[in-house]
Amino acid sequence: MPQNYIPIFIFIAVVGILIPITLLAAKLVRPDNPNRAKLSPYECGVDPIGASRGRYTVRYYIVAILFVVFDVETIFLFPWAVKFKALGMFGLIEMLIFLAILVVGYVWVWQKGALDWV
């Protein structure tokens, strides 16, 4: 029933009001006397060297791509699992084929070394 979802939005609204109010209340009571040393980026008291957003390893991107592939697969499995008993043998074989295709891709990714983090 669609009206069952309304309380979730009520909840989000209450939290969404409460959190900024907490931040504003804290703003009213806290001290505020910054200086240069306090405001510098935290690098153990040493003046920062170089750009803070430097280059980082490409593996983070690979992980992101792999996540999209496998997470979409997980989402496909959810409705199948809920209706598993109703689908019967057809659903089982269908999903085994789907998983087999996926496992081939997974093995290939593993062989290519995309899962290694060196």
């Binding site: 806290r30 405001l39 499995l77």
Partner: protein
């Protein structure tokens, strides 16, 4: 059928109560953690504020309010401000669909012990908790500091990696119960196997429970998977540049996520609120909630126990464990479960 006004009013009341209970639980989980880890390390933990240090969370809250909140000039301010709020909102929202017991009637009004009784509760929890990665990633990026960026990147990569194993481990439970509604999943676990063993999903799905446990620890960035905030190398990870109330919000988000994970584990694997019911009607009404809370407490205790016991992984070990061990194990468990259920029916 209730009128729309009373429906909204009841929802509001339930929201306020749930928030109050949840935030108190968050505060006292911190207290429990400090106390238990203290005793495990042969210390006392908090003792000074109140009996057994029980007022320590209040003192901490007051301190967070009165601390100077530095907003460094080098941050990208809109996202820097938004990140802790997003983290805490997403962490708290999943409690809205978690049922804590059967329905009760107060003053003639029948109401379920759940804010929103939706039939895709589990899907909403998974969706909302995976949005939590935005808070972490945005905090790391917008802080414009090396430690924050590295912590944010690590946290994002780790959270998305383990989310797959987490999602796949739940598919076996869905096959057994045939529903995405948390209430129906719990109802499917009533009764016993062979008259002795409770019909909890942990027994047929113990591999899934193990995968869920590991993935959930990694999702909440807890030891042994707390690489994003490895103090020895990254200072504090993605919240290095945060202070006062904004830091407290990341802290609250982490512990609220722990409680959500404990709730989901209790509902999906440990039989929810099932347990012996006895005594007068009032006690009968309260007991399910008590059994549910007991399971959550036990789960949180194991969390803290593991924190007091295990060292931290190395990052390549963490990624290998998630991608090369948990993921194939989850797929194997899913296939075996499907085959067994198909043969039985």
């Amino acid at each position: 059928m209730l009128s729309i006004e009373s429906f909204v009013a009841i929802s509001l009341i339930k929201t306020v109560i749930a928030l109050f209970v949840l935030l108190t639980a968050v505060a006292y989980t911190v207290w429990l953690e400090r106390k238990v880890v203290g005793h495990m390390q042969n210390r006392w933990g908090p003792t000074r504020v109140g009996p057994f240090g029980l007022l320590q969370p209040l003192a901490d809250g007051v301190k967070f309010m009165f601390k100077e909140d530095l907003i460094p000039p080098h941050v990208y301010k809109p996202l820097y401000m938004a990140a802790p709020m997003l983290a805490v909102v997403f962490a708290l929202t999943s409690i809205a669909v978690i049922p804590v017991g059967n329905s009760i009637s107060i003053g003639g009004i029948q109401t379920s012990l759940q804010i929103a009784d939706v039939n895709i509760g589990l899907l909403i929890i998974l969706g909302v908790t995976s949005l939590g990665v935005y808070g972490v990633a945005l905090a790391g990026w917008s802080s414009n500091s090396k430690y924050s960026l590295l912590g944010g990147l690590r946290a994002s990569a780790q959270m998305v990696s383990y989310e797959i194993a987490l999602g796949l481990s739940l598919v076996g439970v869905l096959i057994l119960s045939g529903s995405l509604s948390l209430r129906e999943i719990v109802d499917a676990q009533s009764g016993t196997y062979w008259g002795v063993l409770p019909r909890w999903n942990i027994f047929p799905q113990f591999i899934a429970f193990f995968i869920y446990l590991m993935a959930a620890y990694a999702e909440t960035n807890r030891i042994p998977f707390d690489l994003p905030e490895a103090e020895t190398e990254l200072v504090a990870g993605y919240h290095t540049e945060y202070s006062a109330m904004k830091f407290a919000m990341f802290f609250m988000a982490e512990y609220a996520n722990m409680i959500t994970v404990a709730c989901v584990a209790s509902l999906l694997f440990l039989g929810g609120w099932h347990g012996p019911r006895f005594g007068p009607p009032l006690l009968q009404a309260i007991l399910p909630v008590f059994w549910f809370a007991l399971r959550i407490f036990g789960f949180l205790f194991v969390y803290i126990w593991i924190r007091g016991t295990l060292p931290r992984f190395r990052y390549d070990q963490l990624m290998a464990f998630g991608w090369k061990f948990l993921l194939p194990l989850a797929i194997a468990n899913l296939v075996v479960t499907a085959l067994v259920v198909a043969i039985q029916s």
